[in-house]
């Protein structure tokens, strides 16, 4: 599948934003985050900038963004519609939580409860985003049990790395707890990704050129001549192929820059404890994690094959 930058930007940015909002609520509810107003302003500002920026980016992917409101209507059947509704709904509790924290300086008790409701909505939104991909039978690299955990794990990881950077910048007492969670989230994301890659590498193809043409009974089916000499929408959108050796290099990048490096930096920061050195380490960890997730999402598209390519020369998809 052609990796559309607007969709990659949307899923990674909004994933990080929702992850950050979720963890702000969880750690506040656990009493581990002081209700510092400037911290709140920066944290919520960053989170909402990521979410809104991501959503706007995905709207520019549309042919008619001015009609995007119509996308909220078919939630009965469409995961994309459900995602839109969930995203809109999420703004309510998270917005209230943000206002209560930043304006009134409170993040415990009732505020925390609203925050946790917001966290649930954030998780639901990421869930719906992942299901858009996981529900497409035409793309077997997405239609499996590891796609959804991948989306959730990377949202949690990027959110945790951002939160860790923020609590270090503010020098909060309980930053070690956030650092520990960040470590776990990086490890989990790497593990989920590894399982995902093992699955898609091993999965046998159900759809083949023979089932696509129905001519398997006559023998092997190969494309003699494409229906057109020039490219068309289908091939531009779904004909993207990445060479195995390039994919291998990029997977290594994800595991190194997107996992090993942030893990090591976060662990080093925990060991150092605090101060400018630790802050620098966790900021680098957040940047590395961000680079890793962008490449991970790019690969998610690049390694996905659509069955329509069976009509254009692919033997299996």
């Amino acid at each position: 599948m052609h990796p559309a930058y607007s969709v990659i930007a949307f899923t990674t940015a909004s994933g990080a934003g929702y992850g950050l909002l979720t963890l702000l609520a969880v750690f506040a509810a656990l009493g581990l985050l002081p209700a510092d107003r400037w911290f709140g302003f920066t944290a919520f500002g960053l989170a909402f900038a990521l979410v809104v920026g991501g959503l706007l980016s995905s709207m520019f992917h549309l042919g008619h963004p001015e009609r995007a409101w119509r996308a909220l209507s078919q939630w009965r059947s469409s995961w994309l519609s459900r995602e839109g509704l969930a995203a809109v709904a999420t703004f309510v509790p998270t917005g209230v939580f943000a206002v209560v924290w930043v304006v009134f300086g409170r993040n415990g008790g009732a505020a925390a409860a609203i925050g946790l409701l917001g966290a649930l909505c954030c998780v639901a939104t990421v869930y719906c985003t992942a299901m858009i991909y996981a529900s497409l039978k035409t793309i077997k690299a997405w239609c499996n049990g590891w796609t959804l955990p991948g989306y959730l794990a990377y949202a949690a990881m990027t959110g945790a790395l951002l939160l860790n950077a923020l609590v270090h910048l503010w020098g909060f007492d309980r930053r070690a707890a956030v650092g520990a969670l960040a470590l776990v989230s990086v490890a989990v994301a790497a593990l989920v990704k590894d399982r995902y890659w093992r699955l898609i590498d091993a999965e046998p193809s159900v759809s083949t050129a023979e089932t696509a043409t129905g001519l398997g009974g006559l023998g092997k089916v190969t494309l003699l001549e494409a229906p057109h000499t020039e490219e068309n929408y289908l091939m531009a959108e779904m004909g993207f192929k990445i060479a195995r050796r390039h994919a291998t290099k990029l997977r290594r990048f994800v595991l190194i820059v997107g996992a090993a490096v942030p893990f090591a930096l976060t662990a080093a920061a925990l060991a150092v404890g605090g101060g400018a050195a630790a802050t620098a380490l966790v900021l680098l960890a957040a940047i590395a994690g961000g680079a890793g997730v962008v490449v991970e999402r790019w690969l998610l598209f690049a390694e996905a094959k659509h069955v329509v390519t069976l009509y254009y020369g692919a033997g299996t998809a």
Binding site: M1, H61, L62, G63, H64, P65, R67, A68, R70, A71, L72, S73, Q74, R76, S77, S78, W79, L80, S81, G84, I132, S135, L136, K137, T138, I139, V206, S207, A209, T211, A212, T213, G214, L215, G217, L218, G219, K220, V221, T222, L223, L224, E225, A226, P227, H228, E230, E231, N232, Y233, L234, A236, E237, M238, H306, V307, V308, Y311, Y312
Partner: protein, 247 residues
């Protein structure tokens, strides 16, 4: 609505394409492009049509496949591909706005260009590549089964079939109600063992393809008469008798 019709459509209109007869002339593809340059889906945008990298929206494409194991039994099969107007069309259920819908009265799957937002998810959901994005219009377009032709009273009745069906010079395309087991197309499908494409995708396509008929077995080279052996001629008398008797 992007829920599929609550009850199965009264009629399931679709196409039957005969892979035994199709010669790969692309007339159906060209006629479809022409017909849809006016009316419901107009215009079908082309980009850089006379330049170095032309590209554009087409609803019908004719592929050519080589089928066989290369042992003398291989054959070329020309393969027109267009929307199969599936019963469980995934393009309908994934649409977030309701622009993609399946008609209850005849099962035709259409796009409402006034409400489509061009998110392209329907094209991702379609296994057959039936839907294309029109860059200029910003909406998705697809085979309409010539809905603006089959019900068109200003056309003579014999022309009220999809453009691709009426134009096929060899009669490889048929149109009718595949939900009615007694219709001509249904009988044809039953007689020729017509099949659906990629049934494992669970779309329950309506269109059917008729398989190429089995080839005649490659005949043995005709046995040549043994050449006359001049030694065993029988002589002049035998030749003269032969000539007399052969008159």
């Amino acid at each position: 609505m992007t829920d599929l019709p609550a009850s199965p459509p009264r009629r399931q209109l679709g196409l039957v394409i005969d892979l035994d007869i199709c010669v790969g002339c692309h007339a159906c593809a060209v006629t479809c492009k022409e017909w849809n340059s006016g009316g419901h889906s107009a215009p079908l945008t082309d980009h850089d049509p006379y330049g170095a990298h032309p590209t554009g929206v087409w609803f019908n494409r004719v592929h050519a496949f080589e089928v066989g194991d290369g042992d003398g039994n291989s054959r070329t099969v020309h393969f027109p591909r267009s929307c199969l107007h599936c019963q469980d069309a995934p393009c309908v259920t994934v649409c977030p706005t309701g622009a993609s819908y399946k008609r209850e009265e005849d099962g035709i799957v259409l796009v409402n260009a006034d409400t489509c937002i061009g998110c392209k998810l329907c094209s991702w959901a379609c296994p057959y590549g039936a839907r294309e994005y029109d860059q200029d219009a910003g909406v998705m377009k697809k085979c309409t089964l010539c809905v603006d032709r089959i019900y068109n009273d200003t056309l003579p009745p014999t022309s009220r079939v999809p453009a691709c069906v009426s134009t096929c010079p060899v009669g490889a395309r048929h149109f009718g109600d595949l939900g009615d087991p007694d219709s001509d197309v249904s009988r044809l499908v039953a007689a020729r063992d017509g099949f659906a494409l990629m049934p494992e995708q669970d779309c329950k396509p309506v269109n059917r393809y008729l398989p190429p008929r089995p080839r005649r077995a490659v005949a043995e080279a005709p046995a040549l008469a043994a050449p006359a052996d001049p030694e065993e001629d029988g002589g002049v008398l035998a030749r003269w008798v032969d000539r007399i008797l052969s008159r």
